[in-house]
Symmetry: C2
Subunit: 198 residues, 2 copies
């Protein structure tokens, strides 16, 4: 890394601190940036600091947003009595892309993981329970289908059930277009357990 001038080294070092960007990619990106028009570099650089400085948690669902309340929580056309619980804003976006979900969300910002020392107090669970005290018909748990996601789902279900609010979990099974041959045993068993009459 001492083979470049100071400013280039500094840029390469900063870029290689980003996830999924190794030393080679950082060098390629750095030289791409050095060859970009100055105005474009300015825009790229501002988009980072401005996003970092403006983006905060929605006061209702805790997704990352520019405003006090996110557009989904502000939308009166959404069903505010159906709350889908997701691990993060990207998972929320994945469901929004389907264009079919009409309810609102609750973003946990993580999942319970005894391995990583992440407990129920480290994610936005208390905030979910506070929301549920107001009014809700159904809580749809859409945490990932991983060990952490399942643990979190079980935990939420135990907390919410006594309140009488309906708690559901999104289905596990064979992905649409998936070839059975390439699907792991656990998923195959889940799909069997979750079979429905035709």
């Amino acid at each position: 890394m001492d083979y470049y001038s100071n400013q280039i080294n500094r840029l390469v070092t900063e870029l290689s601190g980003l996830p999924g960007i190794g030393s080679k990619s950082a060098q390629r990106l750095a030289f791409h940036i050095l060859n970009m028009p100055k105005a474009d570099v300015e825009r790229l650089s501002n988009s980072m600091t401005e996003a970092r400085n403006t983006v905060r948690y929605c006061s209702e669902c805790f997704t990352l947003t520019d405003e006090e309340r996110c557009p989904i929580c502000k939308n009166p056309k959404r069903d505010h009595r159906t709350i889908m619980v997701v691990e993060n804003t990207r998972d929320q976006a994945a469901y929004e892309k389907t264009g079919k979900y009409e309810g609102v969300y609750h973003v946990l910002h993580g999942a319970i993981s005894p391995m990583l020392g992440i407990g129920p107090a480290d994610i936005r669970l208390k905030e979910l329970l506070l929301r549920l005290q107001k009014d809700a018909d159904e809580v749809i748990i859409a945490t990932n289908s991983s060990l952490e996601g399942e643990t979190t789902a079980m935990y939420i279900s135990k907390l919410v059930k006594p309140t009488g609010i309906k708690v559901t979990r999104i289905a596990s099974g064979v992905p649409v277009g998936g070839d059975l041959e390439y699907i792991d045993e656990v998923t195959l068993l889940r799909a069997l357990e979750g079979r429905r009459e035709l």
Copy 2:
């Protein structure tokens, strides 16, 4: 991309404009940046604009550097009569990493490519010839072993030979540690042609 707030969308769009960063990686990077300490984002962002604003071409070898003349050109211990011609600053760094090359460099910033419409006037060839008018013992052509690199090497060799300066080309062959079985035919033939007595 409309599933995030404006600032996040803007950041994702800017990041996905970088080479090798698709829409998914851009989202992952964006959320990583949003979760970084503000000071770190500031540092990352400054490293880009500052590098872009300070870095320029060395007045002698045309590598990218912070100064009027790069550290290699300024170093009196380097052999200024041996000039290695490379396509870009990264290739120069690759040779510097060997720690064994004592000469100086000339950075072309590209290679002749009729396919891409890049002609001899589009790279720093004129500057090389001007340098050679002063004083030089040997020009080592270390352009890539691609069609463009070879074309450029041939072109330079034809220009330089009449001046009486020695022109050499780095060897093509089997990479050290390479397994013959996995090496393409052209490289195998090059290695055969370039064989040396033991």
